[in-house]
Every structure is written in structure tokens, then in C-alpha cells.
């Protein structure tokens, strides 16, 4: 086989995608900034880290849920093109993870060598209507029946309590465990300069908010509405070598879907899509579940963090609250599960870091990369073994879509 042909075949066989840099903005309310400014900020941080220029990019993938509604921007590709002064292939997806998966696929297929994945959302620009938008996205029939973005989380908790027959002292422990998730995430966010909320809260505050709301969950159980942007630069293995000495490999990436209407799903105590996606992701990554040391889950509510630990396989169904409760009695910075340390939502999770939908997944990936590279500063975790594997779970809707990515570094 001639050298040229060999090169071509190699290229066609593709390459494992590598993250060479990541950047993000602070999450929160950015009423003074245009959305373009936010994405530029995230991109500049990432490009600086990788020492890249705009013209080096071969393609861009952008994610946002609501920009055309919240900001009346026209085609997002247009402002992205203007921002980068590039006329390369650009595509828009909804969640950061879906943009990220598309970018991974393209690199794996050997189509591109350097790709930008950016995510952005500006939810506070439509403060008055965003909850209606969120509900319609989540499930129109639930919206027509009077549902709210909070209601399904509470119904899932009710379903969970019933299915596992949790009552009395155990119910109290479960409710405390959920409060502890929020307290823990706020605590983690104290060390995250980009987090929306950098303040400590107490279990009592969480419980009090629930009592005031007269609902199973209260203000402190839910992620906020946020503005923000995030960016990741992906490269082929070979190109990555030239750009960074701390490559983070995308070892596995998978997704699955489920019914739109939560009530019509067979199992209402977790997310089937997550279970399926995790199974596939682990298979592709060829690692064991227990190799994962750092995990970012999609905690739109404390209930979501709890059930995600079960959906991903870390805890048997119906038991995550016990592990959380025990770990948080004297919280040392991680959950103790199956005798191992699992570091969860070190950036503060969606609860405290913020949840600008299209950018959220980028911030989750950002956190895992920083941890795996040992660049997380004050919040750098100390695992028992050398830190090598991390995992990100991002959901769309109320578990209608689930994305799981497994990252490896420190090789």
C-alpha cells in the first residue's frame, strides 16, 4: 500500500477525539451583555489555553435551546461566523452534549482535525416567560394540564417514596439527604469563581423553603435560571499532541431517548435514557464503572442528582439516598459509595454553578477536564488513586434525552 493511500485509510479509520482546551464564563445574570459577548468570552479563554487562532478552526458546533426566542438573533451560525470571521461548516444543536457528540463523531470519522464546540444561553432576557418555554420544551401535554418545571421532579420523588416504601425515619433521612445534596453543591460552588451562587446554605434553610412552599421540594432544591456560555476545543489525537501536553480523551460518548410525557413512561423513579446511555458509554470506553472517580450529573433538582447515581449504576435502585445521607453526615468532599470515593458535582452542580441550558453541559465537561488535568485550583480533588477517569451526564427535557460522556486523562 502506498504511503498516501495508507495515510488516507488511517484518516478514514478516524481518530479518538481529544479535548485540548476549555473555557467558560461566570454563570448568573448577564443582562448587560449581548449573547455574542458571552460566547466570545468562553471561546477566547479556550483558544488562549490551546494557543489557537480562529482561522485554525475547521468547523464549529454551537448549542442553545432558546436564543432565537429569548434574543431574537436570527440564525446563530451568522453571529458565530461574524465572531470567528470564518466561513467554515457550522451547526446548531440544543444541548451542549448534542453539539459535543456531533463534533466527536466528525473527528472520529476523520472529517476534521480541530473543532470548536460552544454553548450559550441567555434565559434571564426572557425572565417573565422562560418557565412557560421550559415547560413546553419539557412536555406540552404536561404544560396544558397545568404542570410547572418543578412539578415533575416532585412527582418523581413521590413515585420514588411510594415504590420503595420509604416512611417514618427513613423518609426523614431521604428528605435530609436531598437537602444535603443542595448544601454540598453550594459548598462546592464556594470554591468555583464562575458559579452563580457562591454562598453557603444549611440543611435547615432547604427544609424551611420546602415547608414554606408546602411542596415536597423547595427553592433550594432547584437549579436557577441563568445566563452563560462555555466552549471546548476538540482535536484529533495527532493534532492534539501539538496543542497540549495534557490531553483529555473522549473515551466513550453515548445517548438515548425516552417519551416526552413523563407520566406515560413505565418507570417514574429514574431515567431509562440514562441507564441505556451509560451502558453504551462504558462499553465504548472499555472501563469499569468503578474506575470513574469524578462525576458531573445533571442536578436540575436534588432528586435528579439522587436518581442519577442510581441510573448510572453507582447505587442500587432505591438506595442512593442512604449513601448520600451517610456521606454527608460528615461531608469530606465526596460520596462514599461501595467503599470508594466518588466526587460528584465539584463545580457546585447546576444548583449552585447555574444552569444556562445550552451552556450547562460545557461547564460540566469543563469541570471534569480541569479536575483530570489537576488544574481545578482550590477545588482540586484528591482521589485515592491517580486521577484518570471522569464522567458527565447531561439531560434534555425531563430525562427525554440523556447524554453520557466518559473522559480519560493523566495517561
Amino acid at each position: 500500500m502506498g504511503l498516501l493511500l495508507q495515510k488516507r485509510v488511517q484518516k478514514a479509520m478516524g481518530s479518538r477525539p481529544v479535548i485540548v482546551a476549555a473555557g467558560r464564563t461566570k454563570f448568573g445574570e448577564h443582562y448587560e451583555k449581548q449573547p455574542e459577548r458571552l460566547i466570545e468570552e468562553a471561546w477566547l479563554k479556550a483558544s488562549e489555553e490551546a494557543g489557537l487562532e480562529r482561522k485554525d478552526l475547521e468547523a464549529c458546533y454551537l448549542s442553545d435551546y432558546f436564543l432565537p426566542i429569548t434574543n431574537k438573533l436570527g440564525l446563530e451560525e451568522g453571529f458565530l461566523s461574524e465572531l470567528t470571521e470564518l466561513h467554515v461548516p457550522m451547526d446548531v444543536a440544543r444541548s451542549f452534549s448534542s453539539a459535543f457528540s456531533n463534533a466527536c463523531n466528525a473527528i472520529q470519522a476523520g472529517k476534521y482535525d480541530i473543532v470548536l464546540v460552544g454553548g450559550i444561553e441567555k434565559m434571564t432576557d426572557r425572565w417573565d416567560k422562560i418557565r412557560d418555554d421550559l415547560m413546553l420544551l419539557e412536555d406540552p401535554w404536561s404544560y396544558y394540564a397545568g404542570g410547572t418545571p418543578e412539578a415533575n421532579h416532585e412527582l418523581m420523588l413521590r413515585a420514588y417514596i411510594k415504590r420503595y416504601g420509604i416512611s417514618g425515619e427513613n423518609l426523614e433521612k431521604l428528605n435530609t439527604a436531598l437537602a444535603q445534596i443542595s448544601v454540598k453543591n453550594h459548598l462546592n460552588a464556594l470554591k468555583n469563581e464562575y458559579a452563580q451562587f457562591q454562598r453557603k446554605i444549611t440543611v435547615e434553610q432547604v427544609l424551611e423553603a420546602r415547608k414554606n412552599a408546602r411542596r415536597p421540594l423547595g427553592l433550594y432544591d432547584f437549579a436557577p435560571i441563568s445566563d452563560g456560555a462555555s466552549a471546548v476545543i476538540l482535536a484529533s489525537e495527532e493534532t492534539a499532541k501539538k496543542l497540549t501536553d495534557k490531553p483529555i480523551y473522549v473515551l466513550g460518548s453515548a445517548s438515548a431517548t425516552d417519551y416526552l410525557t413523563f407520566p406515560s413512561r413505565e418507570d417514574m423513579t429514574g431515567f431509562l435514557a440514562t441507564r441505556l446511555a451509560m451502558e453504551k458509554a462504558l462499553k465504548t470506553a472499555e472501563i469499569s464503572l468503578w474506575d470513574i472517580q469524578v462525576l458531573e450529573v445533571y442536578d436540575q433538582s436534588t432528586v435528579m442528582e439522587m436518581v442519577s447515581l442510581e441510573d448510572l449504576g453507582f447505587c442500587p435502585r432505591g438506595t442512593a439516598w442512604k449513601a448520600i445521607f451517610e456521606s454527608c453526615k460528615d461531608y469530606k468532599g465526596y460520596y462514599k459509595i461501595n467503599g470508594k470515593k466518588l466526587f460528584v458535582n465539584m463545580n457546585g452542580g447546576l444548583k449552585a454553578d447555574g444552569n444556562p441550558l445550552g451552556a450547562t453541559g460545557g461547564a460540566q465537561i469543563y469541570e471534569v477536564i480541569k479536575q483530570l488535568r489537576g488544574e481545578a485550583g482550590e477545588r482540586q480533588i484528591k482521589a485515592d488513586e491517580r486521577l484518570r477517569f471522569g464522567c458527565v451526564l447531561e439531560l434534555e427535557g425531563f430525562g427525554t434525552k440523556s447524554y453520557v460522556h466518559i473522559f480519560g486523562g493523566g495517561f
Binding site: 415547560m135 396544558y144 394540564a145 404542570g147 410547572t148 413521590r158 408546602r214 407520566p263
Partner: protein, 502 residues
């Protein structure tokens, strides 16, 4: 602005809770699906239509909504959850309606979960006044409270009558009341209006009659509080109750709204009876509904005197010639141009002159119609078992009944205004229903309606033996609704808020 096509599709599915069932694997969908997700291609053409409109559901899980999305803010605080049908084969989201949750009231969700619920046809959420009114039946009430679950069984008719008459009827009033001035008046819940009352009444009449809804060839809805100036209530009734043969998504029924103040419905009794009596016309049954969220200006403004009397409710009658419970013996109507009560187009509340109200309006027309009909049929007051008159208040129907020579036992059973208020188009029909609820076979009932503007319709009905057997089918009688232990009393401010609606 809402989109008309989207609105049409949501309400087509959501008002009736339509779905499909796979005949191969039995999986059910709350959606018109042409194939089953489990069975794939082989299920094409094997999906049967189902709907949950008359079914009993179970509230599986619930929570409280106290920060609703924008369109639901007028509903205030409500319980929202998941309702299952057919032993969990299908689950839908839904909210509880007819429930006022007060500030500080603690909610025990487990006291609600697991209980049986009935789907109720209601307004979905608030929209601008210029928009289409969205409706849905993903609103539920507990079946062990005010509104019981009743199955709808189609009963094959077994007796043909010579004269047309009433084959079934239904009365619907809400579970809320305001009590003042010695009378109780029904108050709609915030998601109710004349349209929802008309549908409810029609549904109850179908249940009571056992008539196959596809055989109803015409429906008339009389109202003076249609929330639309232009757009019939009857079209909604026809579609939700599936009147006439359905072909694709169109019902083979003639549907029309009528308006003549409080006699808009009774006026059509004779039309319905004539239509079903007309040979070879192919209209075995016709439905007449009177429904009103009776309007009144606030007390301190012009026309506000009505605010002491207005009620809410609907009443439906099905006319036909089979399994008749009350045969129509004769009728007489009279009309004069007497402006005693009116509402100009675009005005929210009616005006009430005052000068004409009693005489020559109410009394003159009722007296004329009653006397003429009695003369025609050669009847004396003693030949009549029950007398029913329009009831704007308690005094008027008693005064005219006495004047016409009727005794207390003849007119008192029909007087329901002290229980429900003046239900306008539903007023004398509710009185008639109260009598039909208790009448024995072979009794004569004289009903005389009155509509401002002005006119009266007098009808004489003679009950048949079948009135007894059909009575078993209706739990929601007039008395049941008037003396229900689950009635909830509201104060004046709440009454105005509920009446104003979403």
C-alpha cells in the same frame, strides 16, 4: 396569539381524551396513532379508537403548584399530578379542579394519592380576551366528592311512542355556592363557563337517556352568556359529546346556538320535538341545552341588582320518540317587543330597566302562555300535577302560580331558585328537571318559561312509566346537587372572582 390549527388539535384530543389502542398487544396511547410502537408495521390498520371521557381514573401521584406558569396564574394554587386509566395501562398529566386551596392550608399528598377521579371538561388556561378559549379534560375531581363517576351505557330502545317527548335529561351545577339573603346560588369554579356547563349537562343527559350519541341529529344550545359573541357553544358540545356519526374529525350533526334571554332553550323544545316527529328525516334524537354563567354587574353599578340572584348551571333535554319518559301533549308560545332586560353588544353586563320587570313583562307573558295552552288542551289547574315557571327569584313564580290557581304542592317542587339562583336559560328547565326527578307515571306537568325581550313558551308533558326505570341511571339529580355534603360556600369576593373566570 394562539395558533388556530394547534388549538384545534389540542382540544380535539384533549377535550374528549381520545387515544388509540393496539389490537395486537393492547398498548394504549393518549394520541391518535396509526401504529403501535411495540408492534411496528404489522399494527397498521389495527389501532382502534378509544377515549377516556366517561372513564374513571386514579390519581397516582400529586404535588402542589403554587408558582404556576404564566397562563395558569389565574387558577392560583392547585394540585397537579398523574392520573392513570385502565389499571395503569395509560397515564396522563392532570390537575385537580373544583378545589380552592387556601393560604397556609397544609396539604397531605398521600390523602389524595390512590383516589379515584373523574375527568372534567374545563377551560385550560387564560388567554387574551380576543383569543380562542382553550379547553381540556385533563382536569379532574374526586369521584367520592360532589361529582360521582357515572358510566355511559347505550341502551337499545324497546318502546316506540306515538307522540314525541323527553327521553332523557341532565342538570349540572357546580359545587360552589354563595349563601346570602336567604337563598343559595351556584357559583362556577374559575375554569367553568357557559360552554363547560352545556357540555356537562349534555353528558349527563346522554347518561340518563342511554341514547347513542351518534343518533343525535341536532343540538340546540340556548345561552345569554356565551363567552364568544361569534362562535357557537353547540359546536363544542357536538364535538366533545360526539353527537352524530363522526366522519374523520367532523360530526354528522346540526348544531346551533339560540338566544332569547332566559327562554333561549325552552323555545327550542317544540323544534326538537317536531324534528324527531318529522317522518323519514333521519333525526331520531335532538338535544336542547340551556346553559348560563348568569351575568350581573357588580352590586354598586347599574344593573347590579341582578347580582343578588344570578346562578350558574346547565340543563339538557333529549327529545325523541322511543323510550320516552314524558310525552309532549301541546305547546303555546307568545311574544311581544317588551324591553325589560338587555345587553348591548360589547357590554359585559346586562341592564335591567325595572319599570317593566314584573308587569307587563314576566307576569303578562307567563299568564298569557299558560292560559292559552290550558284553554287549547281544555285543562283546569286541577288537571295538572305540577306547575313550573321561570324563576328569576322566589316570589315571582309563586305569585303567578297562585294567580293561575295552583296549589303549593303543584308549584313548590319546581322552585329551585333558592338553591341555585337564576340560571337564566337553565332556569325553568332546572325546575322541570326537579319535577321529573320525582314525578310518577301518568302525571301532567305544565312548564312556562319566560325570556326578557319578551316572550313565554308553555308546554304540557305527560309522564310515562319509563320515567321510573330511567331514574336509576342518574345519580346527579337536582336534589343531590342542592343538598350535597360537598358543597363549598364562598364569600362575595371569591364569588365575583370565580364568576369572572380565567
Amino acid at each position: 396569539m394562539s395558533s388556530e390549527p394547534i388549538e384545534r388539535r389540542i382540544s380535539y384530543l384533549g377535550d374528549r381524551l381520545r387515544g388509540r389502542r393496539c389490537q395486537i398487544c393492547g398498548k394504549e396511547y393518549f394520541e391518535i396513532r396509526d401504529y403501535c410502537g411495540n408492534c411496528g408495521r404489522k399494527s397498521f390498520g389495527k389501532m382502534e379508537d378509544i377515549d377516556f371521557f366517561y372513564e374513571k381514573g386514579k390519581l397516582e401521584l400529586c404535588t402542589l403548584v403554587n408558582e404556576p406558569t404564566n397562563k395558569f396564574t389565574k387558577l392560583g394554587v392547585y394540585i397537579y399530578g398523574i392520573v392513570s386509566f385502565h389499571n395503569g395501562k395509560i397515564r396522563v398529566p392532570g390537575r385537580l379542579t373544583d378545589k380552592i386551596i387556601r393560604n397556609g392550608e397544609t396539604i397531605d399528598f398521600s390523602a389524595f394519592e390512590g383516589r379515584e377521579v373523574v375527568p372534567r371538561f374545563r377551560r385550560r388556561y387564560s388567554v387574551e380576551k380576543s383569543e380562542i378559549i382553550p379547553t381540556i379534560s385533563l382536569a379532574f375531581t374526586f369521584s367520592d366528592e360532589y361529582y360521582p363517576h357515572q358510566e355511559y351505557h347505550i341502551v337499545k330502545p324497546n318502546k316506540e311512542y306515538d307522540a314525541p317527548g323527553i327521553v332523557g335529561y341532565g342538570v349540572y351545577t357546580s359545587r360552589f355556592r354563595i349563601k346570602e339573603g336567604g337563598i343559595e346560588r351556584s357559583v362556577p369554579f374559575i375554569d367553568e363557563d357557559a360552554i363547560t356547563a352545556a357540555v356537562e349537562a349534555g353528558k349527563l343527559a346522554l347518561i340518563h337517556s342511554g341514547v347513542d350519541s351518534t343518533l343525535v341529529g341536532k343540538v340546540y344550545v340556548g345561552s345569554e352568556s356565551n363567552p364568544y359573541a361569534v362562535k357557537p357553544i353547540a359546536s363544542k358540545v357536538a364535538q366533545v359529546l360526539k353527537l352524530g356519526e363522526e366522519d374523520e374529525d367532523v360530526q354528522g350533526v346540526d348544531a346551533i346556538d339560540t338566544e332569547f334571554a332566559c327562554k333561549a332553550a325552552t323555545s327550542m323544545f317544540k323544534d326538537a320535538a317536531s324534528l324527531v316527529n318529522y317522518p323519514k328525516m333521519g333525526v331520531p334524537y335532538a338535544m336542547v341545552i340551556g346553559a348560563d354563567n348568569s351575568q350581573a354587574a357588580p352590586r354598586d353599578s347599574p344593573g347590579g341588582e341582578l347580582d343578588f340572584f344570578v346562578g350558574y348551571g346547565g340543563c339538557a333535554y333529549i327529545f325523541g320518540k322511543t323510550d320516552v319518559i314524558a310525552e309532549l301533549e301541546g305547546w303555546y308560545s307568545c311574544t311581544s317587543d317588551t324591553p325589560d332586560f338587555w345587553r348591548r353588544d360589547g357590554e359585559p353586563y346586562p341592564m335591567h330597566g325595572g319599570r317593566f320587570t314584573g308587569d307587563p313583562a314576566y307576569f303578562k307573558h307567563i299568564r298569557k302562555a299558560a292560559k292559552k295552552l290550558m284553554d287549547r288542551l281544555g285543562l283546569k289547574p286541577s288537571d295538572i300535577n305540577y306547575f313550573v315557571a321561570h324563576q328569576p327569584n322566589v316570589q315571582f313564580p309563586i305569585r303567578i302560580a297562585r294567580e293561575l290557581g295552583f296549589k303549593e304542592e303543584q308549584y313548590m317542587p319546581s322552585i329551585q331558585v333558592a338553591k341555585f339562583g337564576n340560571t337564566y336559560s337553565g332556569s325553568s328547565p332546572v325546575g322541570l328537571a326537579a319535577v321529573l326527578d320525582i314525578a310518577k307515571p301518568n302525571e301532567r306537568i305544565l312548564i312556562v318559561s319566560y325570556g326578557s325581550g319578551a316572550g313565554s313558551d308553555a308546554y304540557s308533558f305527560i309522564t310515562t312509566s319509563q320515567i321510573i326505570e330511567k331514574r336509576q341511571r342518574q345519580k346527579l339529580t337536582v336534589k343531590y346537587q342542592a343538598e350535597n355534603p360537598f358543597l363549598e360556600y364562598v364569600d362575595y369576593n371569591m364569588y365575583r372572582r370565580l364568576k369572572a373566570g380565567m
